[in-house]
């Protein structure tokens, strides 16, 4: 561990960025129907409307890029929430921010609001995510113990999950009730450029807000009083992080559903490489989250299941063992 942590930070960032972009390219290359990617790319760049160019530009690339954006959002937000609450279990999925975002998006989508105004969809997701983050803030205002965090997360998750099921059952379209799996497990299948452009601006704003808290999160390592004595406005930090999480996670979930565990696993993997510094962890966890999500999305298409597995199934298969190990370790530390 001591050797890997000496990799210089810029080299880590550059390496992870390259890996994320490479996985993006692999994701665009991996599909259900093989075709000549080079020809498709040159057709697309030349504006020739061939079917393969269309598949590349309208199906493969939006899917890969959304995987990158959503994964970065989840990883970054996970790291920011963990730094804020000083608990490695604080993660958008576990604490209920993702499922509340799904609830918000479901209400907006099935009520037809998003058909009238497409921006309403990410706004619904953001409103749900913000409500959960505020609730979490009330429950865990003074540094969250693991028990309080997990129980609070269970409460928010089950409430949001059952309200989502209720909203889907009340939705007038007969297909709606069958679509709960998408919202609870998440998927990047057949996502399009319209969704990509819709969520890109709020995600970028959310990232900026979360990243702007890097120094304050470093200071919070020493507790709230010490952080304030080092000149940081913790109320402002809270507002920025809640807004940042709501923007990033809310818009991500509104187009791909709630993909779990990325925000838990990515910061956990990167923490030793960041020397455990919460500020440095942000960018690294975001990039690792993008890599994880892209890899999981490549896996669901390579696995021979049809229709393809939901993305959250794969991330949970990776993430749940992580969670068990983490809880065991935290219980030892808190004992």
């Amino acid at each position: 561990m001591s050797r890997v942590s000496r990799i210089p930070y810029p080299a880590l960032v550059a390496g992870l960025t390259l890996l994320a972009l490479a996985l993006c390219a692999v994701s665009a290359a991996v599909g259900y129907v093989p075709f000549d990617l080079g020809a498709a790319l040159s057709d697309w760049l030349a504006g020739r409307p061939t079917l393969t160019a269309l598949v590349l530009a309208e199906l493969r690339l939006p899917r890969a890029l959304l995987g990158l954006l959503v994964g970065f959002s989840l990883g970054l937000t996970g790291a920011a929430m963990q730094g804020w609450l000083r608990n490695p279990l604080a993660e958008p999925g576990l604490v209920g921010v993702s499922s509340a975002a799904a609830l918000g998006a479901v209400i907006v989508f099935y009520s037809g609001l998003s058909a009238a105004l497409s921006l309403a969809l990410p706004l619904g997701g953001m409103a749900g995510a913000a409500a959960a983050a505020v609730l979490l803030n009330l429950m865990a205002a003074r540094g969250a113990g693991t028990t309080a965090l997990v129980i609070g997360g269970i409460a928010i998750n089950s409430l949001a999950g059952s309200l989502t099921a209720l909203a889907l059952n009340l939705a007038p379209n007969p297909y709606a009730a069958l679509e709960i799996v998408f919202w609870l497990m998440g998927s990047l299948a057949d996502r399009g450029t319209d969704q990509l452009w819709l969520v890109l601006p709020p995600m970028l704003a959310g990232w900026a807000l979360c990243l702007s808290g890097a120094r304050a999160l470093d200071a919070l390592t020493l507790g709230e009083d010490a952080a304030r004595s080092l000149g940081f406005d913790l109320t402002g930090l809270r507002v920025r992080l809640i807004a940042g999480a709501a923007l990033a996670v809310g818009s991500a979930v509104s187009v791909t559903g709630a993909v779990g565990f990325v925000g838990l696993v990515a910061p956990h993997l990167m923490r030793p490489l960041a020397g455990a510094r919460p500020g440095r962890l942000l960018l690294l966890a975001g990039l690792a989250g993008a890599c994880l999500t892209l890899a999981a999305d490549i896996a669901v298409r390579l696995l021979p299941t049809r229709p393809e597995l939901k993305l959250g199934v794969v991330t949970a298969l990776i993430g749940a063992p992580f969670l068990i190990v983490l809880i065991a370790r935290l219980r030892r530390e808190e004992a």
């Binding site: 259900y32 129907v33 079917l51 269309l54 069958l178 319209d194 049809r306």
Partner: protein
């Protein structure tokens, strides 16, 4: 006597939690001209509302009133509706219950055990089977002549479709919500062929079974994409797939035909209009 017996049996069934052999009644024989018909299935609604007057229908499904899904919404509005549960059906004291082979199975199971006068409709896979089904139901409700008239009208409209020009036919893929396509051997397949198209679902890169990823449908390279259109339907992800930007982009190079859901959800006389619209779209091709 009958309503009392049926009601009593139902009550005992609910109390006992399960049927004892002694309580099972022999299937009741419907009268030759039933007067209190109940339908548990939208496709049965479509046929019944054409075959008999509303005064002979005790209830149709709530779906029949929805003009997006049904071609008989107007007459359906004059008939009480049900949601396909046995609880709603029994008090109506029906003398004929028409259900679909694959829908409302719980209610149908209960009604079968109670010996209710039940008729189950299959899902026809060809025009010939549609005609048989219309005739069969018409006999069951004592209106064989009206049945024959409906069949004759359907067949004559299908026969009157413009013939496809000689040479290779344009290929088409039918895209339904969630990425389902209509494969060979289906009724839609026959309608496509009567309208002068060649259904290429079976030649798609991933075949025609199950929900397909959009790229398999796009890369199939059909000349025409026939989309199950329900523009004013309440939103669903299944339906949103049909408005994917990739399909909009595809629409710039291949013909896209929107066919209203109500015309081909059920195998009734309305499929003639579906075939006519398909043929017209083929004719209009450059």
């Amino acid at each position: 006597m009958r309503p009392i017996r049926l009601g009593l049996a139902a009550a005992l069934l609910l109390i006992a939690g399960g049927p004892a052999a002694a309580w099972e009644a022999p299937p009741a024989k419907p009268p030759s001209k039933p007067q209190r018909i109940v339908s548990l299935n939208l496709c049965a609604d479509e046929l019944l509302l054409r075959l008999v007057g509303p005064e002979r229908l005790a209830a149709v499904t709530w779906l029949a009133r929805d003009p997006r899904a049904s071609t008989v919404a107007e007459p359906a509005a004059r008939v009480p509706f049900n949601h396909g549960t046995a609880e709603e059906i029994l008090p109506l004291d029906p003398d004929l219950i028409v259900a679909g082979r694959y829908t409302t199975r719980v209610a149908v199971g209960l009604l079968t055990r109670l010996g209710a006068p039940l008729l189950e409709l299959d899902v026809p896979q060809s025009v010939a089977e549609v005609a048989d089904q219309i005739r069969g139901l018409a006999r069951a409700v004592g209106e064989p002549d009206r049945g024959e008239a409906l069949v004759a009208d359907l067949l004559s409209r299908l026969d009157a479709l413009p013939p496809a020009p000689p040479g290779p036919r344009p290929t088409a893929v039918v895209l339904r919500p969630n990425g389902f396509v209509a494969g060979s051997g289906s009724l839609v397949d026959e309608l496509l062929s009567r309208a002068g198209f060649e259904n290429m679902a079976d030649r798609l890169p991933l075949g025609s079974q199950g929900a397909l990823p959009l790229e398999a449908i796009v890369l199939g390279g059909a000349d025409a994409l026939i989309v199950d259109a329900a523009p004013d339907a309440p939103p669903s992800l299944a339906g949103a797939l049909l408005h994917h930007p990739a399909l909009k982009a595809l629409g710039r190079t291949v013909r896209t035909v929107s066919l209203p859901t109500r015309l081909w959800t059920c195998p009734g006389p309305q499929i003639a209009e579906a075939a006519e619209r398909l043929a017209a779209a083929r004719e209009a091709a450059p």
